[in-house]
């Protein structure tokens, strides 16, 4: 019976004017917002999770306060701080890293990109721990100078001629030989990176002392909180300031999740408002529909339709309008999510959009229910019409 009412409702929808469909715009926007929001934030979460798994839970990062990531200028960590941390036991290794934006030249073309410097004797192990795979060539060896490992985009896109193992590049006036090319990682920042040994980085950037980030690999994950505290205490004692921060993977994750949480609250608010507007739109359109079809209601009652049948038909109809808006919203939302994904990728942040069927189905169901709910009052009004009065309506 419900199926038959559905067919009846479909019939009447087919005869409705385009204008009445415009009222679902709110539902479309609301559902699109929800779908894109959920998709993006879940994709973001899983991307970050994956990246941190790659990064490793066994790592503590020490950087100067205000240092927001590779590429920005840090205040002042030095090799002294590295020594301070190395004296604490419990680490597998402690790596000082230097990050600078550098000028890169190849056959007369110039480009700018992030240059990272890591101690030459630690490449092998660090790359293994990070899960970095080389597409071509090898890592930098101990004591080696003026060699570089380049990202896949540096090799393929940065210059009009592709670079390969053995190519020569000039970084800040120093000539480097490419010894390895990293497999494509998928985000612009990593793939555009050039990694050289810390020793050479100090020479070309003229930074004999400075360290941007200290990466401390712990032996056992369970020691992390304790070691973090120790690092903080020791650094504070030696440096006599607190111009540094000590971060663990889980803390960084927490921070990102906090930002995500705020973003979600804002977007949920927007989605809720547009859904409310959409619901009011559907309600309004259903009242119009009831009015337009007063005569039909009279006819149906005259041939035996009970009040419940009339209200069911109208409820299904408004549910279908909601569903229609939901379908468009899901499409729009999915498209939006992919768009955001590709924007963020262009901006250098890896975001792999994963479409979850369950989220889409829930979105549709939600839109259908909202449609139904907004149809309750109009449907009730329709069902209460007196048959004679409805029949007389022209």
């Amino acid at each position: 019976m419900i199926l038959d009412y559905l067919i009846l409702a479909l019939h009447s929808l087919r005869h409705r004017k385009l204008r009445s469909w415009l009222t679902v715009v709110g539902i479309i926007i609301g559902v699109a917002a929800i779908i894109s929001l959920i998709t993006v934030s879940r994709s973001l979460e899983s991307t970050i999770q994956e990246q941190f798994e790659q990064f490793g839970a066994n790592r503590i990062l020490i950087s100067a306060k205000g240092f927001q990531g590779p590429g920005t200028l840090s205040q002042s960590l030095t090799t002294k701080d590295v020594e301070t941390i190395e004296k604490i036991s419990g680490f597998e290794y402690v790596l000082p890293a230097l990050f600078r934006n550098g000028e890169v030249k190849h056959r007369g073309e110039t480009s700018f990109t992030l240059i990272s410097g890591l101690p030459a004797d630690s490449f092998e192990q660090f790359y293994a721990d990070m899960g970095v795979e080389l597409d071509q060539g090898r890592t930098i060896q101990e004591k080696e100078k003026y060699t570089a490992i380049i990202g896949s985009r540096v090799a393929k896109e940065m210059f009009s001629r592709d670079l390969s193992v053995g190519s020569k590049i000039i970084v800040n006036k120093g000539e480097f030989r490419v010894v390895g090319i990293v497999e494509e990682i998928g985000n612009a920042q990593d793939d555009n990176q050039i990694t050289i040994s810390l020793e050479t980085a100090r020479e070309i950037f003229n930074e004999p002392e400075r360290v941007d980030t200290i990466i401390a690999q712990v032996k056992s994950t369970s020691d992390i909180p304790l070691l973090q505290e120790k690092i903080e205490r020791e650094l504070e004692r030696k440096r006599r300031d607190t111009n540094f921060q000590v971060l663990t993977a889980s803390q960084i994750l927490e921070q990102i999740n906090q930002v995500l949480g705020v973003m979600q609250v804002v977007l949920v608010g927007i989605a809720a408002i547009s859904l409310l507007v959409g619901a009011i739109g559907i309600m309004n359109s259903m009242y119009t529909s009831v009015l337009e079809r007063t005569k039909d209601i009279g006819i149906m009652k005259a041939i035996g339709a009970r009040n419940s049948a009339i209200s069911q038909i109208f409820l299904i109809e408004s549910g279908l309008i909601g569903l229609g808006g939901g379908i468009m919203g899901v499409l729009l939302g999915t498209g939006l999510a992919f768009l955001l994904g590709s924007f963020s990728q262009q901006a250098g942040f890896l975001l792999i959009i994963k479409i979850e069927p369950m989220v889409l189905i829930l979105g549709l169901l939600f839109a259908f229910v909202i449609g139904m709910v907004s149809g309750i009052l109009p449907a009730y009004q329709a069902s209460r019409l007196k048959p004679v009065d409805a029949l007389r309506y022209e």
């Binding site: 019976m1 038959d4 009846l8 019939h11 009447s12 087919r14 005869h15 005569k295 039909d296 009279g298 006819i299 149906m300 009652k301 005259a302 041939i303 035996g304 339709a305 009970r306 009040n307 419940s308 049948a309 007196k386 048959p387 004679v388 029949l391």
Partner: protein
Amino acid sequence: MTPLIKLENAHKIYHLEGVDVPAVNGLSFTIHQGDFVALMGPSGSGKSTAMNLVGCLDVTTIGAIYLGNQNTKNLSESDLAQIRGKKIGFIFQTFNLIPSLTALENVALPMLFQQVSRRQRLQKARKLLEMVGLANRWQHLPNQLSGGQRQRVAIARALVNDPEIILADEPTGNLDTKTGNEIIKLLQELHKQGKTIILVTHNPELTKQATKVIQLRDGKVVGG
């Protein structure tokens, strides 16, 4: 024998801007199974109001209407809908088809409200369309049909739940004489098959075929 329909001092009073309009004003008559009633009277004499009361589309202000032994005054809206769906077939002057549905769907619709399966509905609706001579018009929408054809669709729809009573309120009022006569013939055919028919008409010719003539004036039976 219990009459099929019995009106006892039925009143229907409309209130228009503080004035009481007694559309039906103390109406009493009985109709038996198998009757062909011609309900006559000048315009505004209360014929349609009386039909609506008999057909349970409306309820009396005062007085009672019995269908068989059932006093319709005591029934709920849902029960009245059941009676309209099962016992009564309406034929209106303005056809009253649903414009968004095809002829076949219009005819099948009353069965939907009686929980008949889709297959059975379509089967029955086809059969009835065939009976009224519209077998090849089943896909047409009402506005693609002539007046006479629309009224035939309405008749098929009125018959689809095998009602005992057919109420036809000026069914030929919007039709030319020839088409109107064909519709009347169809009603006479139904009467022969045993249906009880109440026909509102202005045509005195038809009183000859009727088993009973009721004349209304000012909401009352003339001479009653």
